[in-house]
Amino acid sequence: MTKRLLSGNEAIALGAWEAGVRYASAYPGTPSTEILEALARYPGVRAEWASNEKVALDAVAGAAFGGARALAAMKHVGVNVAADSLMSLPYTGIRGGLVLVSADDPGAFSSQNEQDNRHYARLGKFPCLEPSDSEEARQFTRLAFDLSEQFETPVMLRSTTRLSHSKSAVEINASVEGRSLEPLPPFERRPDRYVIIPAIARRRHPVVEQRLRDIAAWGDHSLVNRIEWGNRAIGVITHGITYQYVREVFAGYSILKIGMTHPIPAQMIRDFAAEVERLVIVEELDPIIEEQVRAMGIPIAAGKEFFPLCGELTLGRVREGARAAGLPVEEVSGSGLKPETILVPPRPPALCPGCPHRAFFYDLRRWRKTAVFPGDIGCYSMGFLAPFDAMDTIISMGASIGMAHGLKRAGAQEKVIATIGDSTFFHAGLSPLASAVYNRGNIVVAVLDNRITAMTGGQHHPGTGVTLQGEEGRRIEIAPVARALGVEHVWEVDAWDVAGINEALKAAMAVEEGPAVIVVKGACVFIPEYQRRPPLRVDAESCTACGTCFRVGCPAILKSAETHPRTHKPKAQIDSLLCTGCTVCMQVCPVQAIQEAG
């Protein structure tokens, strides 16, 4: 037995592998992505990227109906996509263990909202486990599979960014190496369960309710929930990563750590509350435990009124809440002290030097007066930032196309140009495009095809033709797909060809009936297909300090100390370490001051 530092995500993968998982599927999304990446490296596991989260969960459900242990992983908002199937799986029940990992994002570090997915466990009436560190992530994942098979239900393992992306020590048990699994048993036909028509749904609903009561009773006596007795003047109920803050801030006091937050261990809570003088509930995001404890008629000394509803909890915020509630917690010297102020400029993320999205947004910006730009989710979401200001909406994966269509159909006077990435197009862009074609919507859809799922760190998808485990897949090209869906006006254009993009946009805007699609093709700078070229340079003599190249928003283009003698505006210079020689700035320079080196 050795100890290794693993992230929460790596530990979930290890636990799944130890539990005998055979099949896993996911769509990448921060903070969940590394779970499948880690699982893909274990022998004897089939791990895949699905085109979206619903596809992932359906595939995993298929495997579980077949008797295999299977895992789906996704970020919190990904569960929204998978929710249609998820809500009925507790009705059908499953045969092999089915674990859904929901990686939530309190603090919205890289998400569009802070939804608390424990609500899904309540809504769908299945159990939710919440580990507090990597070792527990491993153990709870194994437990989730056991629980799933014991009660024939999907089980949600809920992580958060802080758990998924923190590393802590995990015990690596050498003896589980080289696990051997029996061949999958023959498929067992269960039309009385798996064919969830209304008559069967009505019959299965009481089963779901009874099962939840059985699981709650199990939880009251399981080690998944535990009481750490200390000073009984204060008793704190907590969960997940928040437990780590509580054990530091409330050191020495009694703690009830709830590992299964749905269904809650009601009896254990009653027993705990009866033994402590003041009951405190510290919960991240929504007061899900708190509301249930209040409904049980148990008085609470401090809860959500002191520990914020919005944002990630931290040591500091828990300490502040405790202080505000008048609880006697230790003070930490130094915390809260502000040093003398120094004006620190913000460092917003930016499209990388050489990024294939740059020329497109540079041109799109020029249509601001005459067009509206519904946008989508990916690196190209940065098109909303200065200097482009070329994205007007971002809601959810694939939303750009449907929104564009609705806006136009409602009578928008402007042209409407939707922007969506390649991975997002396969995720949720196909159906709205089909719908726009069918309804004869007059919109322009620009698919920025950088041949990778870039924002999450470079994952493959149907448009790359390589699977998660590195085999050759079948690459699906976007332009033929658009044509096959009935789009009559389709252009493919090189991502670094400024004039070509301009022409394509002009032509697409002139289309007066039906949708037009422009596929902007160019590999992400982080993938091997990208062709890096020698850095460019600015000829200071010819530079007129007009500022045009600053508007391509490239981190490699800097303001020079040298100014134009008449306007006193700064000339441009290029950081040769950052420049990839993509030539977008060279193409826009009106006086050819930007040149290839040599």
């Binding site: 100890k3 530092l5 921060t30 903070p31 570090f109 890289s110 560190d133 960014t161 802080r162 992306h165 923190s166 590393k167 802590s168 020590a169 990563i241 780590q244 803050y245 054990r247 530091e248 931290t314 040591l315 500091g316 300490r319 930490v332 010297s333 130094g334 915390s335 809260g336 002290l337 502000k338 040093p339 003398e340 120094i342 004006l343 620190v344 400029p345 913000p346 460092r347 917003p348 993320p349 930016a350 499209l351 990388c352 690196c379 940065m382 200065a386 200097p387 924002m455 999450t456 760190g457 600053f550 928003g553 981190p555 283009i557 800097l558 303001k559 700064p570």
Partner: protein, 199 residues
Amino acid sequence: MNQINLLFVGVGGQGVLTASDIAAQVGLDLGLDAKKSEVHGFSQRGGVVESHVRWAPQVGSPTAEQGTVDVLVAFELLEAARWLDWLRPGGDVVVNTQQIVPMSVSVGDAVYPPAEEILAALRARARRVVIVDGLGLAEQAGEVRAVNSVILGALSALLDTPAQAWEEAVVRRVPARYAEVNRAAFRLGRTAARSPATV
């Protein structure tokens, strides 16, 4: 030493997360409990990267509290200023002299404060400020990408821990063909931090 809070900060692509990984591993190698935490996602596109490392007999939270960081390890000068209020008054700072101009400055919306102003602010709060020319020393060691080994070398000089533990953890982490370059970079960083001129 049996407990410490470290905060590694810098800009996406600088190797901040590798360095914090190594620092957490050293804590474990020294027989302590160790945790680290990092923020991913948008921050990797040239944005701010932060990573906490905590060692203790038993670590709870993977992140420290504002104002309780014992050593702030900044891979970039401006980032040292951004995260300064996380430092415990009287704590230590290791700061790389490299400056990476943020887009807000290059488009003219903001000004990069003068280095002397930043260093003065660091000195006003910290007990020791170790200034390291990470790029220069890495180049001297033979590999510009070994900046994080230089920084870890400098950090190791501030802590009451065996240098050997750090050096081994660095060498174990990098591909074998880069082992010696990184060992050299680590030693240059450690030596630089011990010379009075850098403090």
